[in-house]
């Protein structure tokens, strides 16, 4: 029997999932920075952004938010970039928004579930990077053009592309793993 999914539950399991998500995000962001994706020019692609998105979809919005928020803080600490609260918050929202569909998904490999997840990946990237980029108006005094072209689009486009490609693959793999291990 499948356990009823509660959107805002934060018990022991969620604590561990959130911690693993945050650590994974930090490690993968750090590692892919080191490896450098070939051919991406000087555009910084961070495939690790799929971790908060997927953890949100698989374990709920709070887990997704913490995986993104804490994961980005840890990734920046590991890389020595400092602490940028508003971008951490944006990364948190990147995981929270896709997490809102968590109770609606029962079969992670169903086409409908994947389509819904893709939609919320785009929405999550728009909200997350939008909030982070808009905060630059408050912090740096940037105007709307600067915010859109220098902050929002260079962050939003790679995040969406990474999410659209990798989130379905993670969902299908997760469906196989849960089926094989008998987890719900």
């Amino acid at each position: 029997m499948q356990e009823k999914k509660s959107l805002w539950k934060f018990g022991t399991k969620q604590v561990v999932y959130a911690a693993i998500g945050a650590a994974l995000y930090a490690v993968l962001a750090y590692a892919t920075n080191m490896i450098q994706l070939p051919g991406a020019g000087n555009v910084s692609f961070r495939p690790a952004v799929v971790i908060p998105m997927f953890f949100g979809i698989a374990f709920g919005p709070i887990v997704g938010f913490i995986a993104g928020f804490v994961g980005n803080i840890l990734a920046d600490l590991l890389s020595g970039y400092g602490f940028w609260f508003w971008w951490d918050l944006g990364n948190g929202l990147l995981g929270l928004v896709p997490g809102l569909i968590y109770p609606l998904i029962q079969d992670y490999k169903a086409g409908k579930s994947i389509l819904l997840a893709e939609l919320f990946v785009v929405l999550g990237s728009a909200v997350g990077m939008g909030v982070a980029a808009l905060s630059e108006m408050w912090v740096s005094g940037a105007d709307m053009n600067t915010v859109i072209f220098a902050n929002f689009l260079p962050a939003f486009i790679p995040d969406v592309v990474n999410g659209l490609v990798l989130v379905p693959l993670l969902m299908i793999a997760y469906a196989a793993v849960t089926q094989r291990s008998g987890r719900s």
Partner: protein, 290 residues
């Protein structure tokens, strides 16, 4: 892959300040700095940031990576958007103003008419002080704050235990997940997995990262169930948590907090009480360009 924290004990004054006091002071500074575009106020805040940064006793070699990121951001914000295109000055700097080259600028035999104004140069200086000051506060953190202190610090600052422990747990997971990533990378390379020379579009290139990300993620998820069960068996979340990393306030920590609150209070009074927060160019600066 070696994942290591940048923190090391330096015996610096910053090492003696309680992390809670440091977070409170840093956020107080952020509030104060973002409340104003008044150059005099920003200059005072910038000076405070320089003194604060010097207390960390970090070297350029250590912090170079963080500063490179900030310098790129500053370059984009200030040089391109404020000085060249004038974009970043929108909303704060009034339209018009005194042109730096009213007669035009002759460059390589061509007469150019750049729209750069004295006001925008002054605004760029204000941006430099504001972003530079904030950066000094927040770049210092990875180098001067012990990563073991994060969970205890946020818990003592009022964050619920479960959230604080999530941060603590995430920090503890990093070495084992980095090892797992490294093993997976080696294993995939042994199977002729090619990451360094992939032909094709961006989608194909991102897809190539999947054989790395998926096994590491799924292994981590599978192991999490055991960890959660072990935590439940030990009664996790049943009582208020205690922390191995002990934090203790000293008199100087109270002084740092009080100073932080004073900075915020004075800034807000000047900005909202005396209306001194607006951007203005001092007359002497106009005269420099006449």
């Amino acid at each position: 892959m070696l994942v290591s924290w940048h923190y090391k004990y330096r015996g610096s004054p910053m090492d003696q300040i309680d992390p809670r006091a440091r977070w409170i002071f840093s956020f107080a500074f952020l509030v104060a700095a973002t409340s104003t575009w008044n150059s005099s106020m920003l200059a005072v805040l910038f000076l405070i940031a320089v003194i604060w940064y010097s207390l960390g006793r970090t070297s350029w070699k250590e912090t170079r990576r963080g500063w490179t990121l900030v310098l790129i951001m500053l370059f984009t914000m200030i040089v391109v958007n404020t000085i060249i295109t004038g974009g970043g000055a929108g909303g704060v700097v009034p339209e018009g103003g005194q042109l730096v080259w009213p007669e035009g600028l002759r460059l390589f035999g061509k007469l150019l008419k750049p729209g750069l104004t004295v006001d925008r140069i002054w605004f760029a200086l204000c941006q430099l002080m504001r972003i530079g000051g904030i950066s000094m506060f927040f770049i210092l953190i990875p180098y001067t704050m012990d990563s073991r202190s994060y969970g205890a610090t946020f818990s003592k600052l009022g964050l619920p235990d479960k959230l604080a422990y999530t941060i603590e747990l995430a920090i503890r997971f990093i070495p084992s997940l980095a090892r797992s990533f490294s093993i997976t990378l080696d294993a995939q390379r042994a199977r002729a997995f090619e990451l360094d020379d992939v032909k094709g579009g961006i989608v194909r290139k991102i897809g190539r990262i999947a054989p790395l990300i998926i096994p590491v993620t799924m292994n981590a998820i599978l192991s999490s169930e055991d960890i959660a069960n072990a935590m439940d068996l030990r009664g996790f979340g049943q009582r208020k948590r205690t922390w191995l990393f002990e934090l203790k306030y000293h008199w100087w920590d109270y002084a740092v907090i009080a100073f932080g609150l004073l900075i915020v209070a004075v800034s807000l009074i000047l900005v909202y009480g005396y209306k001194l927060g607006a951007f203005t160019v001092p007359p002497f600066f106009y005269q420099l360009f006449q």
